[in-house]
């Protein structure tokens, strides 16, 4: 094999037009991610200025940099307090949540080979919602104290996906089985949550409903180390499988013939991404739309190579989420529209526009 290929690969030094087009394509992918990252940083500065206390964009950046280089800038104390303790954590929370949802949606769509897959396909949100219901109505929680609700959401979310992964592993994991099982479990847990709602008092009901809408308000600095640790462990693990994910979209048989053990990779990805999503979901509640759509938008723009697609989905998810959240916070201030509602209100029309505008029959290509 090597011989024939080498004989023909004598480098002419000149690239053909197709080769140049491919190089440009690779450059475009990197450029796209760089642009969105830049937009996120710009948007952060702008979002910080929005709110009851007047802050300029310059002040916003100065206050942020002031923490790193304490003596370089002159920022007034109140402004810094507002920025660092109120406005900035929410943005960081939004970035992390959006990134997590985007990445997980992307890898789950790849291993399940289904454009409808998202972090919530496996009933993760339904499980978390039920966890909240149990904590709210019965006051029963796995973890006590301030983490009463969050702990329960986390455990039940993992319980849901764990059940499906176990089922698929024992029976031999095909992607169709997993999606069907996920939807079934989704119905089950939704039904149980509704049963709890039926018996809940007004106060308990309010708690359950507000969580179900999805909100970034739960992000505070104390909670970040925990989330950060999960991110630092999970994201590189998912990224390390980028090649295998590329290959798995071509089908399990092809994957196996190229040396990728499809079933093992699928289980691995599902375990890691469930852990990641459960961690985010228990703080934010249901913000499902990002995980479904961010990977599709990214795929339309930069194609299907997961080495680029995973981070791009994450960055795009982060961007859409903080944008939507900023609008939700300010459009009819002082009333705050919950993040989950706002992402869908803004994201769905945008997504529809992309589908209509796309020339291709399959909009996700």
């Amino acid at each position: 094999m090597t011989k024939a290929v080498k004989r023909r690969s004598s480098r002419t030094g000149k690239l053909s037009t197709t080769q140049e087009a491919y190089k440009k394509f690779v450059f475009r992918k990197t450029a796209f991610m760089g642009t969105i990252l830049l937009l996120i940083i710009l948007l952060t500065g702008i979002i910080i200025t929005l709110g009851p206390l007047d802050i300029t964009v310059t002040e916003a950046y100065c206050a942020l940099l002031d923490k790193l280089y304490p003596d370089c800038f002159n920022v007034d104390d109140l402004t810094e307090q507002v920025i660092w303790n109120i406005r900035f954590p929410r943005i960081i929370g939004g970035v992390m949540a959006g990134f997590g949802f985007g990445v997980c949606g992307c890898v789950m769509q790849a291993v399940l080979k289904n454009p409808l897959a998202s972090p919530f396909t496996l009933g993760i949100s339904a499980g978390a919602q039920f966890g909240i219901a149990v904590a709210a109505v019965l006051g029963i929680s796995v973890i006590g104290g301030p983490y009463l609700l969050i702990g329960n959401a986390f455990v039940f979310a993992l319980l849901c996906s764990g059940f499906i992964i176990a089922l698929a592993t024992v029976k031999g994991a095909t992607s169709e089985t997993m999606i069907l099982a996920g939807i079934a479990v989704n119905y089950l847990f939704t039904a149980m949550s509704q049963l709890f709602k039926y018996f809940a008092s007004d106060e308990q009901l309010r708690l359950m409903t507000s969580w179900g809408m999805g909100d970034l308000a739960a992000f505070t600095w104390e909670r970040f180390p925990l989330i950060l640790v999960v991110f630092v462990i999970c994201i590189p693990l998912l990224m390390s499988k980028a090649w295998d994910l590329n290959i798995m979209t071509a089908g399990d048989e092809t994957a196996k013939s190229i040396g990728v053990d499809a079933n093992n990779v699928r289980t691995f990805i599902m375990v890691i991404s469930s852990l990641l999503v459960a961690t985010v979901v228990c703080f934010t509640g249901t913000i499902g739309f990002i995980g479904l759509v961010a990977p599709h938008i990214a795929r339309m723009i930069i194609g299907g190579d997961h080495r680029f697609l995973i981070p791009a989905s994450g960055i795009l998810g982060a961007f859409v989420l903080i944008l939507a959240d900023a609008i939700g916070m300010n459009i009819i201030a002082p009333t705050i529209i919950p993040t989950g509602i706002m992402t869908s209100l803004i994201g769905v029309p945008f997504f529809m526009y992309l589908i209509l505008k796309g020339k291709r029959r399959e909009f996700w290509t």
Partner: protein, 263 residues
């Protein structure tokens, strides 16, 4: 005689429905071997068992005298490449990225220029370089088949398995794909084992033929030995005439045999 690929007593069944019953054969290096047989005779299953896409219940497969069933999957991929039957993709890539997948057994997380250069070399070899940026699903059947072949070739394995590589192609593309494979075999680059439906195409291009019926090998050897009216009637239940054209036997199906059932 040197043996490149050897199968010994392979038994495989799906949920206790036996598909392969004690299949054994030996293939010398740099030969093109065609597996023929009626639908459901176990051709595709045999090929999948050899590549460990399916795991046989018993029997052994040796490549260069090494046991395939005990190799790691990546090692199998370095020794055996597989061209699947064509199918559309749910998340299609462009042609270069699709072919680049075949480099997976050889690369780390970052693909090197060398890997990319190999991809371009194979695309040039197959005459589809200008399709590099096209989306896989937008190609014609013949072009898609060549892309799948390219992906298997960049894997740089000595043994190439093909599952019906010509089934959806017009006659020009059938000859084109077969000529490419024949050429690689002649240059001693690969040993090829392919499942084929078209007996005449198999007869014209293969060095050896393996004829299967109901999970068993009925006849094996040179095409002129395997393709006899008697064999075709007993395996396919079709009465056929055999004509020679420049030393190659060609089959002309005459009519269905009156009795018996089709395999």
């Amino acid at each position: 005689m040197m043996i490149k690929l050897q199968a010994k007593d392979i038994i495989f069944s799906y949920d206790s429905v036996p598909i392969l019953k004690n299949v054994s054969f030996e293939i010398p290096p740099a030969k093109l071997v065609a597996i023929v047989g009626p639908n459901g005779s176990g051709k595709s299953t045999l090929i999948k068992c050899i590549d460990r896409i399916l795991t046989p219940q018993s029997g052994s497969i040796l490549i260069d005298r090494k046991e395939v069933t005990r190799m790691k999957r990546m090692d199998v991929a370095r020794n055996i490449a597989y061209v699947p039957q064509n199918s559309l993709r749910i998340f299609p890539n462009n042609v270069v990225d699709t072919v680049l997948m075949g480099r997976r057994p050889h690369l780390g997380w970052i693909s090197s220029d060398d890997d990319e250069e190999k991809v371009w070399a194979v695309l040039r070899l197959l005459g589809i370089e200008e399709l590099g940026m096209n989306n896989f699903n937008e190609l014609s059947g013949g072009q898609q088949q060549k892309v799948l072949l390219a992906r298997a070739l960049v894997q740089e394995a000595d043994v190439l398995l093909l599952d019906e590589p010509t089934s959806n192609l017009d006659i020009w593309h059938q000859l084109d794909v077969m000529n490419i494979i024949r050429d690689l075999v002649n240059k001693k680059v690969i040993t090829a084992l392919m499942a084929v439906h078209d007996l005449n195409l198999a007869s014209r291009y293969s060095d050896r033929m393996i004829m299967m019926k109901s999970g068993k090998i009925v006849a094996a050897g040179e095409p002129s030995y395997v393709l006899t009216p008697e064999n075709i009637e007993s395996v396919y239940n079709v009465e056929a005439a055999v004509r020679k054209q420049s030393e190659t036997p060609y089959i002309i199906p005459l009519k269905q045999a009156p009795i018996g059932r089709k395999g």
